[in-house]
Amino acid sequence: MAVIRGSSGDWEVVIGLEVHAQVISKAKLFSGAATDFGAEPNTQVSPIDAAFPGMLPVINRYCVEQAVKTGLGINAEINLVSVFDRKNYFYADLPAGYQISQYTRPIVGKGKIRLDLADGSTRDIGITRLHLEQDAGKSLHDQHATLTYVDLNRAGVALMEIVSEPDLRSAEEAGAYLRKLRSILRYLGTCDGNMEEGSLRCDCNVSVRRPGAPLGTRCEIKNVNSIRYVMQAIEHEARRQVELLEEGGAVEQETRLFDAGKGITRPMRSKEHAHDYRYFPDPDLLPLRLDANWVEALKRSLPELPDAKKARFIEQYRLSPDDAGVLVAEQASADYFEAVARGRDAKLAANWVMVELYGALNRLGLGIEGSPVSAAGLGELVDLVIDGTVSGRLAKEVFAAMIETGKGAAFLVEERGLKQVTDSGAIESAIAAVLAAQGDKVAEYRAGKEKLFGFFVGQVMKATQGKANPALLNELLRKKLAG
């Protein structure tokens, strides 16, 4: 638990997050219109999304399934009866003048998410609820000097609002929570977690208090769009509140915005819009009733999720919790690792994936899906290392060439003549040549300067362009030097 040291003592930060996750679905929540990102403005809009007179919403069954899957993935209660409400407010990009959301009876109730902390320990963060709601459209203020343009492509797209308990105690924990949530959503295929495209957005509720004291007054920081910004916003906001309190001031409950350029939070301007949303049940929609058997069937169909996979990796592959945690963060990485590890030394496989592969992908700015080397390709290389065809050192060279050319490991070893020399005759003649050229060093060694052994190894390796099998080389060299 992180503590802020103020001039008057320690303060504890209390954080709760509200995440808006865009549901992966080809069609919107209530209209059947398409949801493709980046389409021309107002091309993915049905009369229902534009709230034309007499238009009625019909719930998209697939979006409900996605929400239930997500609920199951965060170990939450699924409410077999939930209700859609109207949240009323006027804005140009909210066509109906209300957003269809869920207020008193959400589709998913209490759940929890397990955080993997830096020290290797874990901590469970409570989930208050998850509900389904529509997204609004987008107001474009930069298209015209005096007019605002409205793009309704996003209007009506399904969102899951996932609300955490105020269980988080630091910016780092908030970051870990978001990473874990995003990982679960991606495993489930219910949200792509892409924060740049806005498919995952976060509101942060932040307050500070003396350790153990009752909760302080909170501020809500709206619509932060990257994990880094969430952490920065929380850091800044917590310090701002501590400073305010230590100066004898009081925190005012308000909505704030994060200014990423300056790294600070500031109050939202339009205070006159203190909304009374006048929630009431949407009379166009009947209560949503789920069949318990259908929910059970969904539960059985869930993929193995990060926590379970991590435990299995530790157990099955004898990986450290840290390594297992890294490998399971993304389903594709975990799958990749398992494909490499299958039938091979798992630790060696993990090492190759986490060090060489991740290093190369990082340099190239690629995700695992875009890797130029397939899992089978890397497996082939690992096999060559294990059976001694190529040395560990030269294997790295081979791997770099694989990344660069996309060619296979065996082919490259052959093409570039990187095959390990295991022929004792060839190594012996290289040793003989080196020892002959370094007569005085041989004498020094024989006189007791044994650390010169490494020097001879280096020279022989150099003479064989690094291809000599190191174990064989050591053995033969020791024999020769012994005279």
Binding site: P47, R278, F280, L285
Partner: protein, 493 residues
């Protein structure tokens, strides 16, 4: 003037199939009648060309022997129904010039059954009213007059244009919508049949919403049989409306057996209001005697929550309306009055676009949903609604249908009750509980008041039991032998 405008749907159907006249002749007679009815201000848009094109298509079908249920029948369509490419304003300035790019499910079903569109019928703005005085484009006149009194009367509302058009023989039938009595009360005021089906029986898709949990489309006709025929063409499950009921549509016309022997007819004693005109009381008693004579058994029943129904309705309906009408903001369609800021544009547009009654209800609705008032008003009203529905449920343990007056008075003069919204709201006292409970109800013309104005009786049934409601209604229709005609007949006498 033509005898063709005197026909009921059933009669026109027989005439068309028997080649006594063509759908085109029938349409032409009604197009002329619609024009002749202009003094009533019953239509907001006339669509004669479309009517003729539809009639010609109907004639081809008739020739091929492929006539459908409503083949060639000319209808007036309440302006609350979105009609593709045809002006649809809900009687409001805020929808000035709005031509929907889609057709409501109910009208689409009517066209698919062969019906012919004469035009769009005037109505109270956004269906909020019981008089058709709140129309943005001028009041509708009732074709009836009091005996010896030439003052124009209201047709009732909100489906007043529809009722006036059907009563004046400008349309054989019309669509209406009923949120708190908007089909049945104008039917009663204009001497025609008006049926509100069970909530969920007809799709609301494409009908401009007033109060979504109460709105329901239904037929307005000159006979009970016509109501049965037309409802059959309008009804049915629609996957585009989540509140539409996935239940089969029976053959309503086949339910008109003329036999109600053994049925129990509930008579709710809470509907005997203080100060209700004696002639309405007397008419009600006649209705009871008629069903008894036909072999049914009247039973006195109690609906104790009745007195709370109207106040609850006037909380729930405005609450939903305040939200439903938020989309009329000047941004995407209809009227826009510019302003210096977005909020100013909203204010200017909505102030200019909405009439006084709509503004009143939007304000009431906004108020009852506000933080701090929600529990006391909206939530309480919803509880009352549940209790009202329970009352009916208990009543239907003891009887098969209920028989009541439709409205506590006959049509009143334009201008009367205008300055007293509460008196105006009382028009709906017998009809509103039916909407709150989501039940089917029909108004049948049953007699004339002393001043010569029509009065209706209402039959209320169990949910999705329109068949029994229609059967009992037909008995009353036959017994009443209502043949009186209004003073103004656009289609000639």
């Amino acid at each position: 003037m033509s005898a063709l405008t005197q026909l009921t749907i059933a009669e026109a159907r027989a005439g068309l199939r028997g080649r006594q006249f063509s759908a085109r002749e029938l349409a032409e007679a009604h197009i002329a009648a619609v024009a002749a009815a202009r003094p009533l201000n019953a239509f907001l848009a006339e669509t004669p060309e479309r009517a003729l094109a539809m009639a010609d298509a109907a004639d081809q079908r008739l020739q091929r022997g492929e006539a459908r249920a409503m083949e060639g029948i000319p209808l007036a369509i309440k302006d609350l129904f979105c009609t593709e490419g045809v002006l649809t304003t809900a009687g409001s300035r805020i929808l000035d010039g709005f031509k929907p790019p889609y057709e409501s499910t109910v009208t689409a079903k009517l066209w698919a059954a062969g019906a012919v569109m004469l035009g769009k019928a005037n109505m109270d703005e956004f269906a909020m009213g019981s008089s058709n005085v709140t129309c943005a484009h001028g009041a509708v006149e009732n074709p009836w007059r009091r005996r010896g009194d030439n003052r124009p009367l209201v047709p009732g509302g909100s489906s007043g244009g529809s009722a006036a058009a059907v009563a004046a023989r400008a349309a054989i039938a019309a669509t209406g919508t009923d949120t708190g009595g908007s089909i049945r009360q104008p039917a009663s005021f204009c001497g025609i049949v008006g049926m509100k089906p069970t909530y969920g029986r007809c799709s609301r898709w494409g009908i401009v919403a007033f109060a979504s949990s109460l709105d329901q489309a239904g037929p307005m006709t000159r006979s009970v049989r016509d109501a049965a025929i037309m409802l059959g063409a309008m009804a049915g499950h629609d996957p585009k409306d989540s509140t539409s009921a996935p239940v089969p549509v029976p053959d309503f016309e086949a339910a008109l057996t003329g036999d109600i022997r053994g049925l129990k007819i509930g008579v709710p004693h809470e509907y005997r209001l203080d100060g209700m005109p004696a002639e309405i009381e007397a008419l009600w008693q006649r209705g009871i005697d008629w069903v008894k004579a036909a072999g049914a058994e009247p039973v006195e029943i109690s609906l104790p929550m009745t007195k709370y129904a109207l106040p609850a309705y006037y909380i729930i309906a405005p609450a939903e309306a305040s939200s439903n009408l938020a989309r009329y903001d000047g941004v995407r369609f209809g009227l826009r009055v510019p302003g210096g800021s977005l909020d100013e544009m909203y204010e200017n547009t909505r102030a200019a676009g909405f009439g006084a009654e709509v503004r009143r209800r939007v304000l009431i609705g906004t108020y009852v949903l506000s933080a701090g008032y929600y529990d006391a008003y909206y939530l309480k009203a919803q509880q009352v609604r549940t209790l009202v529905a329970r009352d009916f449920g208990a009543a239907f343990q003891r009887c098969d249908v209920l028989l009541t007056p439709t409205a506590p008075s006959a049509a009143f003069a334009i201008g009367e009750k205008q300055d007293d919204p509460i008196a105006m709201y009382l028009n709906d006292v017998f009809t509103v509980p039916v909407n709150l409970a989501g039940l089917p109800g029909i108004s049948v013309p049953a007699g004339l008041a002393a001043d010569g104005l029509p009065l209706g009786l209402q039959v209320i049934g169990r949910a999705f039991d329109e068949a029994t409601v229609l059967r009992v209604a037909e008995i009353i229709e036959t017994a009443a032998g209502f043949t009186a005609k209004p003073a103004f007949l656009a289609g000639g006498g």
